[in-house]
Symmetry: C2
Subunit: 349 residues, 2 copies
C-alpha cells in the first residue's frame, strides 16, 4: 500500500454542502484507501454527517470554521474578510503542509484568489490558469484557461501552453503532447493579435511534443491536439457550451427512447451499452478543474454537483498527489527557467 | 400557389461544388415549387449536371463565370480581383434585382466582403453579422455574430441584439423575443468592458420582447433566451464547439449500439425513433448562416456540406424571401431610425 496522504476539503462550498462533500469523500475513500481527509466547516453540521460513515470518520478530522464564502462574494472581499472561512482554512492547510491538496465546490473567483495568495505561483508563471480535461474522439484533451483570466496576452498564453504540456505528460501520461491555440481559423493571419503572437512564440520555443498551430472549436471534441490553449473568457464559453450541448443531446436521447413501445424495448435491450455511454459522457466524470501554476494542488468542483461528482473532483486532486504532479511540474519549470525556454523575455514584456 | 422567386447560386463554392449545388437545388426545388434558380459557374461543368434533373432544368438558368473564389483568397483580394467570379456574379444578381437572394458554400470572408460591398448595409447598421439558429431544450435559438467581426464594441453588440430580435420575430415567429449577451457569468460585473456597456445600453432601449442580461455557454442549448448576442470570435468558437460536441456524441452513440448483440438488436427496435433523433440533430438541418444587416439576402452554406445540407441553406434563403424578412427588418430599423432607439449615439461614439 502506498504512503497515506491528506486532502483538505472545504465542507461548506457548493449548492448542497456539507452533505455532498461528506458523501463524496466517502466515495473517494473507497477509491483511494491511502487518503485521509481534513474537513473545514461548521462542526455542528459536519460531525453528525461524518458519524454516518464509520470508515470515513476513522480517516477524517473536522476543524471548525465559523463562516463560509458566499457565491456572490467578490474575490477581493473574500481575501480581505475570509481568513476564518472554511475555504481559506482548507487552503491554509495546504500552505502549512498539513494537506497535499485542497478541494472546494465553492466560489471559483474566491478560491482562485485565496489559493494564489496562500500557495503562490510557481517560478516563471505570471498567472495561474484553470485546466480540465474532456472526452474526445481520440481519448482526452486538456483545455486551459477555463475562466481564471478573462483577458490574456501572448505571454500568458505561452505559459498556459507550457503548463498544459506538463499536465498532459504528468497526469494524462501523454509522452509527446501536441498543443494548439483555440482560434476562429487555422490560417496564420486569423484571430486576435495576442493569438498570432503566442503562435509565433510557440513555434520558436522547444517543448516536449509539438506545437500544432491554431485549432478551432470542433477540434476540442475531435481530439486534434492533447492541449488546447485559450484565454479564460473563450475557454469558459467553450467549456459551458460543451456541457450544455452534451446535456441537450442526452435529453434528446431520453425523449427518443420514450417515444414509442418499440423504442422503449430497444432501450431495455441496449441498456447495458447505454449505461456505459452514460458513464463515458457523464459530466460528473469530468468534474474537478485544476488551478495550474501554483505551488500546491487546488481543485475546484462544480458548485451544483452531487456526491459522485465531488468524489471525482477529490479524485483529480488525489491523482495529482499520487503522480507527484506538482514536483514534476516544478522540475519542468525549473528546466525552463534554466534557459531552455525563456518565455517572459521572448514575449518582449 | 405563391408568386415565383429567384435564388442566385454560386455553383462553384464549397468542397464538392458544383455537384452538391445542383443536387441541393433539386432537393430544394421540391420543397419550394415557386423557386427559380440562377446558377453562376463553369458552364461546361454545370450544364451537364443540370441536364440530369429535367424538372430543375426547367426552372433554372446557367450563367457562365470564368473563375471561382478560392478558400485561401483574402477578402480584400476577392473584392479586387473577383469581379468575374461565380460568387460575385451571383451576388450581383441580387444587387440588380434579378434574384431575391444568394447562396454560396464558398469562402466566408470573401462572400461577406462582396455581399457587403454590393448589397450595402441597412440604415443604422455599422457592421453586418452572421446569424444562425440552433436546436435547444425549448425550440430554437438564434445566435450572432458567428464570425464576421472578430472584435466588437458595445455599439456593434447592441446592433446585433436589435437584428437578432427582428430575425427571431420575422423568421422564427417569436412574438416577444428574449435577448441575452454571451458572457462568463450572469452577474453584472462579469466579462469585458464592451459586454458590460452593451448590457447597460440594452437595459435602456426598448425592444419588442425583453433583455434578459448576460447568459453563459450552457444557456445556448438550454434555450434560456431566443437571441444570443456575442462577438464573432466567441460566437465562432461556440458554434464550432457545438458542432464538435454533437458529432462526438453521435459517434459515441454509434459505437454504443455496435458494442454487443443485444445493443444491435435494441438499435433495430429503436431505429425509427433514433432516425427521428438523427434528423432532429443533423447538422445539415441547421446549415445556412445568414448575413444579417444587408439590404439583400445572402446565405453561407458550410463548405463541407452535401446536397441535403446545401438544400437546407437554400431553404433558409427561401424562407427569408417567403416571409418578406428583409422588408420587415428594414421597417423595424426605419422605426428605430425615427428615434425610438438611437443606438450609435447612445454608445457615445
Amino acid at each position: 500500500m502506498s504512503a497515506s496522504f491528506t486532502i483538505a476539503l472545504d465542507a461548506m462550498g457548493g449548492d448542497r454542502a456539507p452533505d455532498i462533500v461528506v458523501k463524496g469523500a466517502n466515495i473517494a475513500r473507497k477509491r483511494f484507501p491511502a487518503a485521509r481527509f481534513l474537513f473545514f466547516g461548521d462542526e455542528t453540521r459536519v460531525q453528525p454527517l461524518l458519524a454516518r460513515y464509520r470508515a470515513l470518520a476513522k480517516v477524517s478530522e473536522v476543524r471548525h470554521a465559523d463562516h463560509a464564502i458566499k457565491n456572490e462574494d467578490k474575490p477581493s472581499a473574500a481575501l480581505r474578510n475570509g481568513r476564518g472561512s472554511s475555504m481559506r482554512l482548507a487552503i491554509d492547510a495546504v500552505g502549512k503542509g498539513e494537506a497535499a491538496g485542497v478541494v472546494s465546490a465553492g466560489n471559483t473567483g474566491a478560491l482562485m484568489a485565496m489559493a494564489k495568495f496562500v500557495l503562490k505561483t510557481l517560478p516563471g508563471i505570471t498567472r495561474p490558469a484553470i485546466a480540465s480535461f474532456f472526452p474526445t474522439m481520440r481519448g482526452e484533451t486538456v483545455m486551459l484557461d477555463l475562466g481564471a483570466n478573462v483577458q490574456c496576452d501572448a505571454e500568458n498564453l505561452v505559459q498556459f501552453a507550457v503548463m498544459g504540456n506538463v499536465f498532459a505528460r504528468t497526469v494524462l501520461g501523454v509522452v509527446s503532447p501536441t498543443v494548439g491555440i483555440l482560434n476562429v481559423g487555422s490560417e496564420d493571419q486569423k484571430g486576435h493579435e495576442a493569438l498570432r503572437e503566442a503562435s509565433a512564440l510557440l513555434r520558436e520555443i522547444k517543448l516536449p511534443g509539438s506545437f500544432h498551430g491554431f485549432v478551432e472549436g470542433d477540434d476540442i471534441a475531435k481530439g486534434t491536439v492533447d492541449v488546447v490553449v485559450t484565454d479564460g473568457f473563450t475557454g469558459n464559453i467553450a467549456l459551458k457550451t460543451i456541457e450544455g450541448t452534451a446535456k441537450l443531446y442526452a435529453e434528446f436521447l431520453r425523449a427518443t427512447f420514450s417515444s414509442s413501445f418499440l423504442s422503449k424495448l430497444g432501450f431495455l435491450l441496449a441498456r447495458p451499452a447505454l449505461n456505459a455511454l452514460r458513464l463515458r459522457t457523464d459530466p460528473r466524470r469530468y468534474n474537478g478543474a485544476i488551478f495550474l501554476g501554483l505551488t500546491g494542488i487546488a481543485v475546484k468542483s462544480h458548485g451544483g454537483t452531487d456526491a459522485l461528482g465531488f468524489a471525482n473532483a477529490i479524485g483529480v486532486a488525489a491523482d495529482m498527489i499520487v503522480h507527484g504532479a506538482i514536483a514534476r511540474i516544478t522540475e519542468d519549470f525549473a528546466d525552463i527557467g534554466q534557459g531552455a525556454i525563456a518565455i517572459p523575455q521572448a514575449a518582449g514584456k
